[in-house]
Symmetry: C2
Subunit: 415 residues, 2 copies
């Protein structure tokens, strides 16, 4: 067989999938698994969305549609963004996508030359790093400070990472995996840096609206930002539509037009009838209510997991103002268990308790100076009872008390 491409060596992946596989294997072997590794939601998509999609199939919306998306969906998204992002958008500033994720590589292809430097958060969504590397960019990570008031972007560190080759900054407010949100000052400081250095911005808004205790604002509402920002937006999280693969790139007309051209070269168009589901999600009162209820449900889960995690010996976490993740420091817990590697800790915990989670190492390459160790609990795919059971099991494990393991509880099975 001929050789494959050398450059594939630069392609990363979402290593969280390996965690899911290990959890599934553990479950298959007859063990209870408490699946807190998946960024998915255990609640059905609103019926009004499914109904609109089914109707579109019956109406014959099964043929090709424009590469940029159907006109009524683009218009609906533009209206929704105008109403919620503090600045005006029109339909030709919207490119419909099969999910939020494709916006990452398409944004990079649209703005990045070989050798351009891209700023991105670490820990952060691992596909940033993978795509920057793979498509010939240079990874310039920026970091978060873990302070008494939670996680904050280390602005001094960020500024030091900038060189004349810096082309763009990836911003992820509200942040996966830490669940943190920028203060008004932090957001303004990031915006000022981007304007000063004339950077493109990819604003990953996957968790926009899944925000609990802080104002929900977008960096594009700040002066001079809309024209340099492409928003990654997705129906996945706020409408429990992760498997639908529906999202959008929203940004300046020229770059959206380029992204549309990339659509034509890659998946051709987003599934036609699914886009009608998207219109219902943004216009039907039932869907609006769904997001409000979802936020309430997730807030309750967050409050429970936050309270219980901080009772586990060796575990500590800040109350995350957004997303459905809890980023937990386990430096002490690892010492107590006598392990030095996060992967060893994760596997040991899965083996001995059945609790499955991702760690900081699944969110980009750790930097050499990182000494504190973190894991991430995803609490959208587990209900309150399941979360309580999982925390109970962990508490027992860290207390070297195995009695909780035999309690018969609703078990979170891995998908």
């Amino acid at each position: 067989m001929p050789a494959t491409a050398e450059r594939l060596k630069k392609l990363g992946t979402e290593t969280a999938y390996a965690v899911a596989e290990e959890a599934a294997k553990h479950a298959k072997e007859g063990n209870k698994v408490y699946a807190l590794h998946i960024g998915d939601i255990n609640i059905a998509t609103p019926k009004c969305v499914s109904d609109a999609m089914k109707k579109a199939v019956d109406d014959g919306k099964t043929g090709y549609c424009p590469a940029s998306g159907i006109a009524p969906l683009k218009e609906t998204i533009a209206e929704y963004f105008t109403e919620t992002r503090g600045t005006k958008y029109s339909a030709d500033e919207v490119s419909v996508q099969p999910g939020g994720k494709p916006v990452i590589y398409k944004f990079l292809l649209a703005i990045m030359e070989e050798g351009d430097e891209i700023l991105y958060p670490t820990p952060g969504y691992p596909i940033y790093e993978s795509c920057i590397n793979y498509f010939g960019g240079v990874c310039k990570p920026y970091i978060y400070k873990d302070s008494d008031s939670g996680f904050h972007i280390d602005l001094e560190y960020l500024k030091k990472q900038i060189t004349p080759k810096t082309k763009a900054l990836i911003y992820n407010n509200f942040h996966n995996p830490s669940g943190c949100a920028s203060s008004e000052e932090e957001m303004k400081a990031v915006a000022d840096i981007c304007k000063e250095h004339d950077l493109w911005v990819l604003d990953d808004q996957a968790y926009y609206q899944l925000v609990y205790d802080v104002p929900v604002t977008s960096i594009v509402s700040l002066p001079g930002m809309k024209e340099r920002t492409v928003i990654l937006w997705t129906f996945s999280k706020i409408f429990s539509m992760t498997g639908w693969r529906l999202g959008a790139a929203v940004g300046p007309k020229d770059i959206i037009s380029t992204i549309n051209k990339l659509n034509t070269n890659t998946e051709a168009c987003t599934t036609h009838f699914v886009q009608y589901g998207g219109i219902a999600a943004l216009t039907h009162p039932e869907a609006k209510k769904f997001t409000e209820d979802l936020r309430e449900t997730l807030k309750k889960r967050r409050d429970i997991i936050f309270r219980l995690v901080n009772k586990i010996p060796g575990f500590k976490a800040h109350l995350p103002p957004a997303t459905f993740y809890l980023f937990v420091e386990v430096t002490d817990a690892m010492k107590m268990k006598g392990v030095t590697q996060l992967e060893d800790f994760r596997r040991l915990c899965l083996k001995e308790t059945g609790v499955s989670f991702c760690t900081r190492e699944h969110f980009g390459t750790p930097l050499p100076f990182e000494t504190r160790k973190y894991i991430r609990f995803a609490y959208a795919s587990a209900d309150e009872k399941q979360i309580i059971s999982a925390m109970d099991v962990l508490t027992a494990w860290m207390s070297n008390d195995s009695s909780s393991k035999v309690v018969d509880v609703n078990v979170i099975s891995s998908k």
Copy 2:
């Protein structure tokens, strides 16, 4: 605003979309349009497929699924390929895709280094050329001979295009836009060339099974070919599912595993519930019957358009054994109308008759030595009556007899 990427200049597109837009504009201005430019099908998706998809939604298949596709669909595709392609496939040799098109760029990313030469057919699907160029490869087109017995790959020309830098060959049997099929000898000769020069093969089987008068065989059935071939396959054409965006890459395990990793970096996964529609398409008797009926319907249309085209002054075409395209030589017709450029001929025809079609220029860059001029009629989105009307209008136009234009017929409106 900061600059966009220079390399975007190398990105092509499907210029057929511009044709669709012009046709839509012409229709909007109150004109009749006979839309023969679209490679889409004016027949609904089989109900059993839609029903299976809807049931999957109701069963909660709305969350994430594996990047490679759901296991039962991969197994079903592997069985279908084993039954129909003359060689055995297993589920780990299948990567589910949002359509057939994404297989083009993912195949190239998986095997092509910067500067590698890729052989591809011209005229041919325009995304081959666009993606080879854009992702840093070197375009090495091969051509077809127009002979009394139809279109055949010019094997001598193809051999001359091979250098030590040649890495892969894109093969498209059954061929868009010419509708031609390889004879047994031609297919064997292509396979021998690929083996002799140790080339990867992308076998674009988008129109496999839409074949009328010749045996349906796959190049992977020839010895030594399966291990070097990635098949681009799609549900789009044979099940009238173009807007569903469902297809697959089928090939050697290692390269499929690489393509799965690319899935993780791009669209994450193919729409979850749509994949259940795919299982029904490959297993439900109603869907099998649908494809048989579709082939019959298209064969009738083909026979009609072939017969009528050859009566139009200045138009001539071979009977295409496959696909739903008719590739028509209009060298004489252009002389009769006094135009030298294909685009001028196309626009003139749209303006004066309402008949809309793509030309050879929409299928990759024409080579300098090409003197004969061709257009492509797509006959899957027009019924028999509409085809007859369009040919009637064209005959009148070429005969300088405008009487047919006022006949009240069912008009093909552009989508």
